[in-house]
């Protein structure tokens, strides 16, 4: 998957004079190859989530190109639903379908997007739930699960279609600290199995262990990219250095 010179600004069409324009994504390019695990981090409000949503075409970029394989998704007339079916997306606030059990949450797209017959969809949904270790929640509704369980169901929902890439938007930051561990463990398992992932996250130990590349994102731009070892030892930009210092201090204090 590749992003080429992507731009996205909010508040452009507003007619109000005092409307703020927020340039969430300014000329961002990024390439992810099969099997890559990349991690985007940076201050909140810097546009990371918007960039991730642009990649999945859940937000349509103002300018620039998004490629999935050799298909350009930003060309007019592309079947975006088909493209999105090949991309898994995990939301910060989970967004499970609230009226459906965990199993049906995972099943829904298998039935109606992949058009699998009922029994096969059920089998695959159960397998996906088993993979993230929430089989015991299969018949629970989202509100009856803990945040960590719900987020793992969210991951199962994204996984079940065997997507080419999984985009995860701060999958642990809306969870209680004691619940982030189970979600991170799930992501480590996925990494071991060779999944292609782009993760927005500030889980630094996880980043150090599994990320092939870390991307420091600030004010709508990629400031610095490099291997985790570089970021943890000597980032080359001041801003990245300051941010890493702060985040590592916070983590060690905990």
């Amino acid at each position: 998957m590749e992003a080429k010179n992507v731009y996205k600004t909010y508040g452009k069409n507003s007619k109000k004079a005092d409307a703020k324009q927020i340039e969430a994504v300014k000329n961002v390019s990024l390439q992810i190859r099969k099997g890559d695990i990349k991690l985007i981090f940076g201050p909140s409000g810097s546009g990371k989530s918007t960039f991730l949503r642009c990649l999945a075409m859940l937000d349509i970029p103002d300018k620039g190109e998004i490629y999935l394989g050799d298909q350009c998704l930003t060309k007019p007339g592309v079947d975006l639903n088909k493209a999105r079916a090949r991309i898994g997306f995990v939301f910060q606030h989970i967004y499970l379908f609230r009226h459906l059990t965990a199993l049906r949450n995972v099943e829904l797209a298998l039935r109606h997007v992949l058009k699998l017959p009922k029994e096969e969809a059920r089998k695959r949904a159960l397998a996906a739930l088993a993979e993230v270790k929430v089989t015991d929640c299969a018949y629970k509704y989202p509100s009856q699960m803990s945040g960590g369980q719900a987020q793992r169901v969210g991951i199962a929902r994204a996984l079940a279609r065997n997507p080419d890439i999984i985009l995860l938007d701060e999958p642990t930051s809306a969870l209680d600290p004691e619940l982030t561990g189970e979600v991170i463990d799930t992501l480590r398992d996925l990494a071991k199995e060779g999944a292609t992932m782009l993760i927005v996250s500030h889980e630094m130990p996880f980043a150090r262990d599994v990320a092939d590349e870390m991307i420091f994102y600030d004010e709508g731009k990629i400031v610095e990219t490099g291997r985790p070892s570089i970021f943890f030892n000597a980032p080359s930009t001041d801003r990245a250095k300051k941010f890493m210092d702060r985040i590592i201090k916070r983590t060690t204090r905990e």
């Binding site: 639903n81 999105r84 079916a85 379908f97 829904l108 997007v113 509100s143 009856q144």
Partner: protein, 224 residues
């Protein structure tokens, strides 16, 4: 005071009138829900033109007296088009279209409380907007809208009395006829009123039960 009630002639009238009242009400609220849903979707996704047309529709049906709408539909429109259309059918349609104008608002409100996040979640799995509406948004919106829909049912039931003015025989028409034959005023209207009360209360209770049964576990619904 109520001895006329046992007269077969009178209670047949009442049953006949009640039959029409129930039919029109049920037809009206269900047709209203179907059209109201389409209008709500049109209002959200229809662009400027669609929204404009829907606003005109809604303001016409909400802003003019039901009696006038009924009169236009039953007498004026067929006369202009020079066709004969069954009065019952036309009255049924007017109630459906009128109710849709109100129910559009309820449905749109219900959909908007869940639309942003649930639509994005649906699209992220590869479903189309239409599929997400069908499998994710509407099933939740219909649950949310039940209390408002029940109110609409109560109000519509009583509005159906206007059909008496275009010559259809509903519960109020039955009351007027019996009053003329028996010269009893208060007892007749007490009985007619009690029948409305029982029908509306019974149906509302039924909807309350359905609402509780269909409630999404743990989700506190707004608009109760």
């Amino acid at each position: 005071m109520f001895d006329w009630l046992v007269d077969p002639k009178y209670y047949t009238w009442i049953l006949q009138g009640l039959g029409l009242t129930v039919e029109i009400t049920l037809f009206g609220v269900f047709l209203g829900l179907a059209i109201g849903t389409l209008l709500a979707i049109g209002d959200i996704y229809g662009g400027k033109l669609g929204r404009g047309a829907i606003t005109v529709y809604v303001e016409f049906f909400r802003g003019s007296p039901l009696f006038v709408q009924l009169f236009l539909a039953v007498y004026t429109v067929p006369a202009i088009l020079n066709v004969q259309i069954d009065h019952y059918l036309l009255a049924f349609l007017v109630f459906g279209l009128n109710s849709a104008a109100y129910q559009k608002g309820y449905m749109k409100g219900a959909m908007q409380t869940i639309l942003d996040d649930q639509m994005m979640a649906g699209l992220s799995t590869g479903m189309s907007t239409a599929q997400t509406l069908r499998y994710v948004i509407l099933p939740q919106a219909y649950r949310i809208v039940i209390p408002a829909w029940t109110n609409e049912f109560c109000s519509l039931t009583k509005s159906t009395a206007t059909v008496a003015f275009v010559g259809l025989f509903d519960l109020v028409s039955a009351g007027m006829s019996i009053r003329m034959w028996t010269y009893k005023i208060l007892p007749v209207w007490l009985v007619i009123g009690a029948i409305y009360l029982i029908w509306i209360t019974g149906f509302s209770k039924l909807m309350d039960i359905i609402y509780d049964k269909k409630k999404i576990p743990g989700v506190e619904l707004p608009m109760q």
